[in-house]
């Protein structure tokens, strides 16, 4: 009684019939690209008036380089970009059929082409210029707290603790920065106070989540509510009574970097910023390198993936987690300073306005990597600013629609559209010996 004999060891898993059993190809990316291409063709390219121009305005830092207003012929360019999207969708289909991965750069290219196509259509034949520089600069500004928040999330969750309290840490950082800067009349001390405040929130989270193994999400949500109440209380009492002393505006000055800030388009966007934004650039690079190339990073990742394994080689799991959650809190707190001293504003009630949760989404979309989180946060910041800019130039689309777009993208992305998203294996699980 011997059944048909399948192949010897080492060969591919093929059944008796000889054809390998393969997974059904996953065409979600192709479908999504196809939708984008269809929208581009039907809504943008077909409706772009012939013979009209779209004019993009580019501001340079100073007179070193002068880039004039760029006018492009709207109809051909819109068609070119839409057809490129159709091509991308087709190519993604071919790749998926061959069970190959759609490369990351194609996702980015499709996103950029779609946005450009949209802008060409919006600006076609209008007197208003599309202000490219301020569009990008505003996007970066809106992204800064998101990036800090997402980095905070990366530091915490890579070690296995879910940080829902990013929102509260941002808000408390903003509060502390405003109050300290105002009281001591120097914005730079605000930058010292903010991370301390964020770290304090992180310490409470760590204390409950690690020491007492309370559900991390619940502790985080409670902390957010607590910080909203606490800052709201002080805002309506002390801060309102003597705003000149406690809540005066203390803007950080911009420090244009010589030469770099003169580069057309990106120069003024990236290199004419406050010290806080430069700190952010450094932090992103340092964290990315440290996470994947340093002893701290290796141990952090081990603790977040398999805490018991880390324990058996003598790593103190809970100590590492506490340290990371406090560090994460400090990073988010520093990001909170952007709302007040970083933007030259006084503290306002609930001024973080849910950005901490978008930061969390950026972290997931960026797959728990600092660079990925930055790209995702920039996307959120850009689409939010696009809505703002378009409503000022009177675009034919309601800005609310545009504001919804990043969240739609997030849902699709988190549902696995851009490949499998894999959180740290022990994320959210307390470690008990």
């Amino acid at each position: 009684m011997i059944s048909p004999v399948p192949p010897a060891a080492g060969t591919d898993t093929t059944g008796p019939a000889g054809t390998p059993v393969r997974a059904r190809a996953d065409y979600r990316t192709t479908v999504f690209y196809g939708l984008a291409a269809a929208v581009a063709v039907l809504l943008f390219a077909l409706r772009t008036p012939g013979g009209a121009d779209t004019r993009f305005q580019v501001v340079t830092g100073s007179g070193l380089f002068t880039v004039p207003v760029i006018a492009v012929p709207a109809e051909p360019v819109a068609w070119l970009l839409s057809l490129a999207l159709v091509g991308a969708a087709a190519w993604a289909g071919v790749l998926t059929h061959q069970r190959r991965r759609v490369p990351l750069w194609l996702h980015i290219a499709v996103g950029v082409a779609f946005v450009l196509c949209f802008l060409v259509w919006v600006g076609a034949g209008r007197a208003a210029l599309i202000p490219v520089t301020s569009l990008l600069a505003g996007a970066l500004a809106l992204s800064v707290p998101l990036i800090f928040g997402a980095l905070s999330g990366v530091v915490c969750e890579r070690s296995g603790v879910i940080n829902i309290a990013i929102e509260g840490q941002l808000l408390f950082g903003a509060f502390a920065a405003a109050v300290v800067a105002s009281r001591l009349a120097t914005p730079f001390l605000g930058l010292v106070a903010a991370p301390v405040a964020g770290a304090a929130v992180g310490a409470v989270l760590a204390w409950f989540a690690v020491r007492y193994q309370v559900n991390q999400i619940i502790v985080g949500v409670v902390l957010n509510t607590l910080i909203i109440g606490l800052t709201g209380f002080f805002f309506s009492t002390v801060l309102s009574e003597d705003a000149a002393l406690w809540n005066a505006r203390q803007p950080l000055g911009t420090l244009p970097i010589p030469l770099l800030s003169q580069i057309p388009i990106i120069g003024p966007v990236l290199f004419s910023q406050t010290i806080l934004v430069y700190l952010m650039y450094v932090l992103v690079v340092v964290l990315h390198v440290m996470l994947f190339r340093s002893r701290w990073g290796l141990r952090t990742r081990a603790v977040g993936e398999h805490p018991k394994a880390a324990d058996t080689v003598g790593i103190q799991v809970n100590r590492r987690r506490v340290a990371n959650v406090i560090l994460g809190g400090a990073i988010a707190g520093l990001g909170g300073a952007f709302f007040t001293v970083g933007s030259g504003l006084a503290f306002g009630r609930e001024m973080s306005a849910g950005q901490g949760f978008i930061a969390l989404a950026s972290m997931i979309l960026g797959r728990w990597s600092p660079f990925g989180a930055v790209v995702a946060a920039l996307m959120f910041g850009f689409s939010r600013n696009l809505g703002n800019v378009l409503s000022t130039i009177g675009a034919p689309v309601p800005s609310e629609m545009l504001l919804m777009l990043p969240y739609l993208i997030t849902i699709f992305a988190v549902a696995g559209l851009v490949g499998r998203i894999r959180p740290p294996a022990a994320n959210g699980q307390p470690y008990v010996k």
Binding site: M1, I2, S3, P4, V5, P6, P7, A8, A9, G10, T13, T14, G15, P16, A17, P20, V21, R22, A23, R24, D26, V289, M290, R293, S294, R295, W296, G297, L298, R299, R301, A302, E305, H306, K308, A309, A310, D311, T312, V313, G314, I315, Q316, R420, A425, K433
Partner: protein
């Protein structure tokens, strides 16, 4: 390094896991720690490794008393441990895994990793012992046997002079076990002291220099590897045991259960069950053998309908099951004993009586309309627990108060309380004491003799050889071959478990026997070690 444990005691609540255990391991010997599941072997080793703090007793290394605050101290003292469940981060490379905890770093405050030297260290050890491990491979992509070598490299990279191996063969094919034994002997030559924890008698006899037997947290004796298996077994269990299952030859009838071309895909889209076909007749036992993780779990789940089949057919008495819900499949006459009894077999906070009607609660006589009859449930529980010899104080106690063996008897009692056409049991005796194993095996054979088709999924070759009328060997999702139990020997099955087709496996096995197979052949004669 000489290792000595004196009077080690460790309690968990009221349970005394280790009761004044004394153990002396001489330098450079392979010392086997033999005992049943739950005897306290792993607890003892976790104490030695600094994971648990002992409640009493002393650890001496080279005659010097030591205390460990954590595994870090134990490692620093030269103790390495390969845990039963590997302590490897799946997404790390081999070099990263080996480096973790004592990372070589470049100079400077940043502490940047020097993975180059970690790689070199892996290659060095790998070459010295012939491990053939690529330092840049990602752990989760490696077969279990190789992962185990990574664990050994981890210990050696930290200059372990005492190496503890906790049930190292549980996940290996017999041939891989052979390779492991060769590695152990080589390490011994190099002067490493090895403590080898197991409950498998055969392996102990093949490899150990000395044997310490532990029962219920106490050392019950020392034995030499020349002892017979029966002697070791009775020492381990505390009474005479019969290792063989008493069964008559099968009396197979008509084909009852047919699986045709069945495939199951993993969430990632790879085939974990790959075009599997077999037929089971009424009154015979088909054992599905294979190393853990070769698709047996998914096969069993697909038959019950817990995971969807990608294609293929499942026929019971000629009618198609593939489109039916789990409940309807159970109604059609499938009895299912799940692999993990504590999560899938019982609801641990429910009482024994409730657990005995988990799949019958909504039908007469236990229910009428929306109402259940607690009296009937209670009576049923009394009868079943008496029939299956379940040791308990009250059927209204939560099932979590029962020992593993008794909980498994409850599961079995529930599944066998209905008229069955097919009994599908996964790892029916995992974690059970020898007495319960005997009982479970006997009931399975009784069910067979009633004319039920029986499918047993087991990774234990001993169990497969004891129960099977025919054996289907699975490897990477495919059935490598199906053999009559009469023609199946340990070596042939072992080779097939590594993916070697039946005919080749036969030729290969006839050329040379593995050392365990050898021990098998000579088990009867005294002192018959190679």
């Amino acid at each position: 390094m000489k290792l000595e444990l004196r009077g080690i005691t460790k309690t968990f609540g009221s349970l005394v896991a280790n009761d004044r255990i004394d153990l002396v391991v001489e330098p450079g010997e392979i010392h086997a720690l033999l005992g049943e599941n739950g005897a306290g072997k792993s607890t003892l080793m976790n104490v030695l490794y600094g994971l648990y703090e002992p409640d009493g007793g002393q650890i001496l290394l080279d005659e010097q008393p030591v205390t460990f605050d954590g595994p870090g101290d134990a490692v620093a003292a030269g103790i390495g441990m390969v845990h039963q469940h590997f302590m490897l981060v799946p997404v790390f490379t081999v070099a990263e895994s080996v480096a973790l905890g004592h990372e070589p770093t470049s100079t400077g405050p940043a502490g940047l990793l020097d993975l180059q030297s970690a790689r070199r260290r892996v290659r060095e050890i790998s070459e010295r012992f012939g491990f053939d491990v690529d330092p840049d491979a990602v752990v989760e992509n490696l077969p279990v046997g190789v992962q185990q070598r990574v664990e050994i490299i981890k210990a050696l990279a930290r200059d372990a002079r005492v190496l503890i191996l906790d049930e190292p063969t549980a996940v290996l094919t017999p041939q891989e076990t052979d390779e492991l034994i060769a590695i152990m002997n080589e390490l011994k030559q190099a002067g490493t002291t090895i403590v080898f924890i197991t409950h498998k008698l055969r392996e102990v006899r093949a490899v150990a220099d000395r044997i310490t037997v532990i029962r219920r947290g106490q050392v019950v004796g020392e034995a030499s590897p020349e002892s017979t298996e029966a002697e070791l077994a009775s020492l381990m269990v505390g009474r005479q045991v019969s290792l063989a299952v008493d069964k008559r030859p099968a009396d197979p009838r008509e084909a009852v259960f047919v699986v045709e071309d069945l495939s199951v895909l993993s969430p990632a889209g790879t085939a974990v069950v790959d075009r599997v076909s077999f037929t089971v007749r009424g009154g015979e036992v088909l054992c599905v053998a294979g190393v853990q993780g070769n698709g047996q779990t998914e096969l069993a789940e697909a038959v019950l309908g817990l995971v969807p089949a990608a294609h293929g057919r499942i026929l019971l008495d000629g009618s198609e099951l593939s489109r039916l819900a789990v409940r309807d499949r159970l109604r059609a006459g499938i009895g299912f004993v799940p692999e993990d009894r504590s999560t899938d077999g019982v609801v641990s906070s429910f009482t024994v009586a409730e657990n005995l009607v988990l799949d019958l609660y909504d039908a007469a006589p236990f229910a009428r309309g929306p109402a259940m009859s607690p009296a009937r449930v209670h009576d049923n529980a009394q009868e079943r627990t008496a029939e299956f010899d379940v040791r308990l104080t009250d059927v209204q106690d939560p099932i979590s108060t029962l020992s593993g063996g008794n909980a498994q008897k409850v599961v079995l009692a529930r599944e066998l309380s209905r008229p069955l056409r097919l009994l599908l049991a996964s790892q029916p005796t995992r974690g059970l004491d020898v007495g319960s194993i005997e009982f479970v095996h006997r009931r399975i054979i009784e069910e067979r003799d009633k004319g039920t088709a029986v499918v047993i999924v087991s990774t234990e070759l001993d169990e497969v050889l004891a129960l099977a009328d025919r054996v289907a060997v699975m490897y990477r999702g495919t059935v490598v071959g199906i053999v009559d139990a009469a023609d199946a020997d340990r070596d042939v099955l072992g080779l097939m478990m590594a993916g070697v087709p039946l005919e080749e496996a036969r030729q290969e096995a006839s050329r040379h026997h593995s050392s365990l197979g050898e021990a098998d052949l000579t088990a009867g004669s005294e002192g018959g070690l190679t």
